[in-house]
């Protein structure tokens, strides 16, 4: 037992020395989360506004001007070009000079009076974000404008008192993130995805590097047991991942003012569970790849799946069931629900136990598989 402890201590010490001595990797690994957070916070904005727009007003009356005014006032459209007709608007979109176009047909004012006016909104479909924002903005502006006109009409007919309001209205309240701040949505998920990248990559790379350098062979011929070698690879990476998590959480909360509503300890334990699943996945990757290059490529593939299938950016609900099932195989899917649940919604285990259990089972299976495949042989 004593020997076993010294032995494990020695391997662990070796891993710590090597981890701390590789300053460059360490710096990248620790600064990457903060850099990503800064990028997401200051550079990436997922709602598109100030869309450059070409306007062809063929009517040039009070009604058409009023509509254009309200479109521009919404902040979603910027007038960059006054076009003569629809063809010129199309041309401008083709050329990429503008991303949206507004065409108001002749006699718009008269048609409004008759209650059958139609304005044409053209959107550059090659950018789906622009289409989404532009379409909903144009729709909302047009509806508001129509409502305004309707009320005016009713007023003029002298029925003002009987129409105090519309018969049906909706009142929406956005929970947890009333200001619809992207950061509130992104920071908890970003914390999870960075943990995943750190834990998987670090482990996969460190084992693959030993194999590539040939140092693995020299370790295999010592009395070190596979389990000891595995744990010694994991512990420094747990510490680094935890440091990265702490950094991004603190920066998110104190610098960017993202509210942390849940139990910090629950968050810590769930993160540890998640880190372990990532380390296990990293070990699995390292056992199937012979070189650092291969390990890196598998990690990149995994990263793509993480980005697309786990609900990090794109919602999972519209995905076909088969694709959702693939997403269920990735631990990040559970982790993102958990971090958002604890971080943003502030709910506890009573709501989240399902995902915690899934993550725990996942970690157990991955570690088991890793320890089976992580053999002390070269072939």
């Amino acid at each position: 037992m004593r020997k076993r402890l010294t032995r494990f201590g020695a391997v662990l010490r070796k891993e710590m020395i090597q981890t701390l001595r590789d300053r460059r990797t360490l710096a990248i690994v620790l600064l990457m989360p903060l850099l990503q957070l800064l990028l997401f916070a200051y550079a990436i904005d997922m709602t598109v506004d100030h869309i450059p727009t070409a306007v062809a007003d063929l009517s040039l009356d009070a009604q058409s001007r009023a509509l254009i005014e309200s479109l521009l006032a919404s902040g979603f459209f910027d007038l960059t070009l006054y076009a003569r007709d629809e063809a010129e608007v199309m041309q401008a979109i083709d050329a990429g000079a503008v991303r949206a176009g507004v065409v108001i047909p002749p006699h718009f004012g008269e048609q409004v009076e008759r209650g059958q006016a139609q304005a044409l909104i053209l959107l550059d479909g090659s950018d789906s974000f622009t289409v989404q924002s532009g379409y909903s903005a144009a729709l909302a502006v047009a509806q508001a404008r129509a409502m305004e006109l309707l009320v005016q009409q009713v007023d003029r007919m002298g029925l003002g008192s009987s129409l105090a309001g519309l018969p049906v209205t909706t009142s929406a309240r956005v929970l947890y993130n009333p200001a619809l701040d992207d950061l509130v949505f992104l920071v908890p998920a970003l914390a999870a995805i960075l943990l995943q990248i750190l834990s998987v990559n670090l482990t996969a790379m460190s084992v693959a590097r030993e194999r590539e350098l040939g140092t693995l062979e020299q370790l295999l011929i010592t009395p070190i047991r596979p389990l000891e070698l595995m744990l010694s690879k994991m512990i420094p990476n747990i510490l680094i991942s935890a440091a990265g998590l702490l950094g991004i959480t603190l920066a998110g909360v104190y610098w960017f003012g993202v509210p942390f509503r849940g139990d910090p300890w629950l968050f810590a334990w769930v993160s540890l569970l998640f880190i372990i699943s990532g380390l296990g996945l990293g070990l699995l990757i390292s056992t199937v790849s012979q070189t650092q290059h291969q390990a890196q490529q598998i990690s990149v593939l995994l990263f793509m799946l993480n980005l697309l299938l786990t609900g990090f950016i794109y919602p999972r609900e519209p995905m076909p069931p088969a694709i959702q099932a693939v997403g269920n195989l990735i631990p990040l899917t559970y982790a993102i629900r958990l971090t958002r649940g604890i971080f943003t919604k502030g709910v506890g285990l009573s709501f989240l136990w399902g995902d915690v259990l899934a993550l725990a089972i996942y970690s157990a299976i991955v570690m088991l598989l890793a320890s089976i495949t992580f053999k002390k042989r070269l072939d």
Binding site: K14, I17, E217, Q218, I221, L378
Partner: protein, 319 residues
């Protein structure tokens, strides 16, 4: 003389599975190395030397046969073996980002060497390997020769009874090579350590108590260096012809010249009878206007014996 067996292999076979089917690397090796022996495994690249060593150490799973070290089976008792054996793999394989001292104490702790023993043994080994002035240097920054010496020192930290070395002096300058072998000699003399060493260098093979010649996955000869050399029939003449290009076919065609090997512009010719053949060669060449400078009989070295045995083996297997 009855000696205790330290390393043994019977019918050891290894086939690698590849995309193109089974590729045999080792095709049935029988080997016995007695305690205190220095056994040299020699052979061309790809003969299966490294695979053989890895099989005996249990780093690879064998396809067939048996192998053991100090009576412990390579597959069934790997940890008994690992605590008693020192090994230097072919590439330099100590962690390059740890210092000489960190490497030493890492291997000492991993092998379960007590603190007291470490305080005594580490300075001894560093002194022995000539690394005392470099304890704080990163292993990756050492010269090739010093790396090998550090690897040797690390593999000796737990006072192993058997040391396995896979081409330990590959890429090391001649002076360092000699120093390394002097270290092995000291080790053998003072600690009666059993050594199994792979080497492509014939002069190193001469320093072994016994050598095994590997060729295409088989041991084609296994004996003391002297006996191996004596296997080559006939005697050996060395000379430098004035016109090498024309001389070679003439000598090859001569009766009684059993084997001709070229060394640069020198020819080594095996003949059945020196007294009869030496004048014959000289006259045959001088009739073509070719002079033979410095013709003399020399003793066959490992190198000639090795080439002869390999050629004979490949001729036999073709026939």
């Amino acid at each position: 003389m009855e000696t205790e067996i330290a390393i043994s292999a019977q019918g050891l076979v290894k086939q690698f599975r590849t995309r193109h089917g089974q590729v045999p690397a080792v095709r049935g090796i029988d080997l016995q190395v007695g305690r205190g022996e220095t056994f040299g495994l020699i052979g061309p690249d790809g003969a299966g030397k490294t695979t053989t060593i890895r099989l005996i150490l249990g780093l690879l799973t064998r396809t067939a046969g048996e192998s053991s070290i100090l009576g412990y089976d390579s597959m069934r008792n790997p940890y008994e073996i690992r605590g008693r054996v020192g090994y230097i793999a072919q590439q330099f394989t100590l962690p390059p980002d740890m210092t000489v001292m960190e490497n030493m104490s890492f291997f000492a702790n991993v092998q379960g060497v007590s603190r007291a023993a470490q305080r005594r043994r580490i300075p001894d080994l560093l002194e022995f390997a000539g690394l005392s002035p470099f304890t704080g240097r990163l292993a990756g920054r050492l010269s090739g020769g010093m790396k090998k010496k550090l690897a040797l020192a690390c593999s000796l930290i737990h006072e192993p009874e058997v040391v396995m070395l896979d081409e330990p002096t590959l890429g090391v300058d001649p002076v360092s090579r000699r120093e390394f072998w002097d270290l092995l000699g000291t080790l053998r003399a003072e600690n009666e350590v059993t050594i199994l060493v792979c080497t492509p260098y014939m002069d190193e093979a001469e320093r072994c108590t016994r050598v095994g010649l590997m060729y295409e996955g088989r041991l084609i000869a296994q004996d003391t260096p002297r006996k191996v050399k004596e296997r080559v029939p006939g005697r050996l003449l060395e000379f430098t012809p004035s016109d090498f290009e024309r001389a070679l076919p003439i000598v090859l065609a001569l009766e009684g010249a059993t084997e001709v090997q070229s060394y640069g512009l020198m020819l080594h010719v095996f003949v059945d009878d020196i007294g009869q053949r030496q004048p014959e060669i000289e006259s045959a060449l001088s009739s073509q206007g070719i002079a033979c400078a410095g013709m003399r009989e020399i003793e066959a070295r490992m190198e000639e014996a090795f080439i002869w045995l390999v050629r004979k083996q490949s001729q036999d297997s073709e026939a």
